[in-house]
């Protein structure tokens, strides 16, 4: 059963074997696996329930209901980086691009070495990846779903002699509607909204929507539930108290909200790692304007990634979005904005993703919101300049008239020479305009309490009964889209919890 604000007038205390906070790539997977194993599962989700039939292409309606804080979330630092997270049943899997990459072997080898256990190595995770990929239909796109913007990217990479990797995406008969970031209206994207959550509900789980969890319930040193308040959809005031008591609590709110919740209870003191090791795969956009129609909105978003510079920590890809989303990132207003945006149908929107070489932190503030701090390292700045140069050069080679660059002070280049002159002047990190949807690493998993927040079973070292199951677990950045890796780790945590229950 899915409940919402109106239901809490009469019901506000719930009991379960397991309460799962969050319904995204981590929470939905743990909850579904445990519900199918016969446990009584209750999900608590801060966002609302929005089914496939409700999705539309309108930013003004979709962003407030599907995104945390209507997407007004920012990482403070040099430069400040806007970030996005899903806040709805299905979490970020509802609004992501649907890329279904496993963490690369080199990242998993590093995890294994870092934690000193084969549990996080490629071999141990292989069956988990396989299970997840089967359930979310991870596969390549059909040829008919590919749009002209992706074809330009593929042709450009071929012209430059670059290696590309065709994306596996969690999709079932995707027809390239290119509405991924506002919810897939065809139901083809296999987000947890249409996979794991329905499975859990059919197995008897309940989902409390529109409830913000504010505290863990801790009794005699053990976590025994959560409490929070339901949010009035009209006034947005959190005004109805909700309590869920359970034998195990799974915190799966993402790499910002998870440490924010746990830090409230003074956890993480032993390792001092809770909230640290914040990683975010920052992205920079390069928008190319071509002399002919592209109509990037017709056809799937991001059919492939350019992997030629992957070993240097640089990924490049197309990523087309609706005009209401793009306009928020185009660095102009007034006439100048119209001059660029009226060429919307001739644009190829592409981006450079850099694998973090540094890390940031998440902490609590007195204002009732998390403070996320992250500075781009000099190495990453150099990588961005390299990535922007390469990507913009590729667009010029493909015949682009001009490119809009991700710098606050110099935004447009009409030629490779002009691009070089602009890049030479980019000496300061704070002129970069970045963005990120990938947040990771703030409650890292490990085999020792001294340098990690949770053990290899996902349980907090300092709080029995409390588990983490989201991208917070990542010991390092992985350099690719994280959802499949989150799902694999969440499956592992469910398995271990089920084994523990069986043994008990």
């Amino acid at each position: 059963m899915i409940l919402d604000y109106t239901d809490y007038a009469s019901e506000h205390d719930f009991d379960a074997d397991v309460v799962v906070v969050g319904t995204g790539a981590g929470g939905a997977v743990v909850g579904a696996e445990l519900a199918c194993a016969g446990l009584r599962v209750v999900f608590v989700e801060e966002g609302g329930y929005h089914p496939t039939t409700s999705f539309n292409p309108y930013t003004t309606e979709s962003v407030p209901r599907l995104y945390r804080d209507a997407s007004a979330t920012v990482i403070f630092g040099t430069p400040p980086i806007p970030y996005v997270e899903g806040r709805c049943v299905g979490g970020s899997t509802v609004i992501n691009g649907g890329m279904a990459y496993r963490a690369p072997e080199r990242a998993l080898d590093a995890w294994q070495a870092q934690v000193g256990s084969a549990d996080l190595g490629p071999k141990a995770l292989e069956p988990l990846f396989e299970r997840v990929e089967g359930l979310i239909h991870a596969r390549e796109q059909s040829e008919e779903s590919v749009g002209d913007d992706s074809r330009i990217m593929l042709a450009g990479a071929a012209k430059m002699g670059w290696r590309v990797s065709v994306n596996r995406r969690n999709q079932d008969a995707c027809v390239g509607s290119n509405n991924c970031s506002l919810g897939c209206p065809t139901g083809a994207k296999q987000s947890t909204l249409v996979t794991y959550v329905p499975r859990a509900l059919r197995a008897g789980a309940d989902c409390l929507t529109e409830v913000r969890v504010e505290r863990l319930l801790i009794e005699r040193g053990r976590c025994v539930g959560v409490s929070g308040r339901a949010i009035n959809p009209r006034t947005r005031k959190a005004d109805r108290a909700i309590t869920v008591r359970a034998r195990a609590v799974i915190v799966a709110c993402g790499a910002v909200q998870t440490p924010y919740l746990l830090l409230r209870h003074g956890l993480g003191k032993k390792s001092r790692m809770l909230g640290k090791n914040f990683l975010c795969h920052p992205n920079a956009k390069v928008v190319a304007i071509y002399p002919h129609d592209v109509q990037g909105w017709r056809g799937v978003s991001q059919v492939a990634q350019i992997r030629e510079f992957f070993d240097d920590g640089i990924l490049m890809a197309e990523n087309f979005v609706a005009p209401g989303v793009l306009a928020a990132y185009v660095p102009f207003h007034g006439e100048a904005a119209w001059e660029v945006m009226q060429r919307y149908n001739q644009m190829v929107v592409s981006g450079v993703l850099v694998e973090d070489s540094g890390s940031g932190s998440v902490s609590r503030t007195i204002f009732g919101m998390p403070y996320v701090r992250y500075d781009i390292t000099p190495l990453d700045h150099v990588r961005f300049l390299k990535g922007v140069r390469l990507l913009a050069t590729m667009h010029f080679e493909m015949g682009a008239e001009y490119v809009v660059l991700p710098f606050t002070d110099r935004q447009i280049a009409h030629s490779i020479d002009e691009l070089s002159r602009i890049l030479e002047k980019q000496t300061k990190r704070d002129t970069l305009e970045l963005f990120t949807p990938h947040l990771m690493g703030t409650a890292r998993m490990g085999s020792r309490p001294a340098d990690s927040v949770v053990g290899l079973d996902g349980q907090l070292w300092e709080l029995p009964g409390c588990y983490v199951a989201d991208a917070s677990l990542f010991p390092t950045a992985i350099g690719v889209n994280p959802q499949v890796t989150i799902m694999a780790l969440a499956t592992r945590i469910a398995e271990r919890l089920e084994l523990r229950r069986a043994a008990a």
Binding site: M1, I2, D4, E33, C36, A37, Y49, H50, P51, T53, S54, F55, N56, P57, T59, T60, P64, R65, D69, A70, A72, R131, C174, V175, S177, N179, P185, T186, G187, Q190, L193, T195, V197, P198, R199, L201, R202, P233, R234, T235, R236, W297, A322, P323, G324, A327, A328, H333, G334, A337, W338, M341, Q342, Y344, F367, D409, D430, T491, E495, E498
Partner: protein
């Protein structure tokens, strides 16, 4: 762990939502048909509203970009609704940004008037200067306000039409196309149920 039958669909009616209407067909309506209640616009004093109107006029593209008669009110409504979903501190910060931008011409000694007393083009030039200010506070204020206003403007029907962006017919065609793709799967399932 059980594998079982993992079908891929929204929650079934039986275990579905108590009250929200789960439409069987995608409507693609601007306001979705799932019973979702949009939040009330964020409360705003008249003086801040006047500042917001001035900022909207300075930021939205002028003609030949589409200029619906109620453009400022429409963008205002969406911006204020966005603010209702933000953290209260972020929404308060955005209101301060509107006020700061309204006073910017005087603070920067560029005019004796506030933004609301200037022409659209003059206002746009002053905001452009703020974007390149050395003070991060000014830069951040304009960027945050600009993001919200531009997003709302470029989501308007008239603007979509002017851009040649027609997502609704395109999505309808894609939904039908996918339904056809799934037909071969649906037929044996229906036959199985009948038998």
């Amino acid at each position: 762990m059980t594998s079982g039958d993992w079908s891929h669909q929204d929650p079934p009616e039986k275990s579905g939502h108590r009250r929200l209407r789960v439409a069987s067909q995608v409507s693609l309506a601007r306001h979705p048909t799932d019973g979702w209640i949009a939040a009330d616009p964020h409360p705003m004093r008249p003086s801040v509203r006047r500042a917001l109107h001035a900022v909207i006029r300075a930021i939205v593209p002028p003609a030949p970009a589409p200029q619906p008669a109620d453009l400022v009110e429409r963008v205002e409504l969406y911006v204020r609704r966005f603010m209702s979903y933000m953290h209260p501190l972020a929404a308060f910060g955005l209101m301060l940004a509107f006020v700061l931008m309204d006073w910017a011409p005087r603070l920067l000694l560029r005019s004796r008037r506030r933004l609301q007393g200037l022409s659209r083009s003059e206002g746009a030039r002053i905001l452009e200067a703020l974007v390149h200010s050395r003070l991060e506070l000014f830069r951040s204020a304009v960027l945050a306000a600009r993001g919200a206003i531009m997003s709302a403007y470029f989501d308007q029907q008239e603007v979509h039409e002017a851009l040649g962006y027609a997502p609704v017919p395109f999505l309808r065609e894609r939904i039908e196309r996918r339904a056809k793709l799934l037909e071969p799967r649906a037929a044996p399932a229906a036959a199985g149920r009948a038998s």
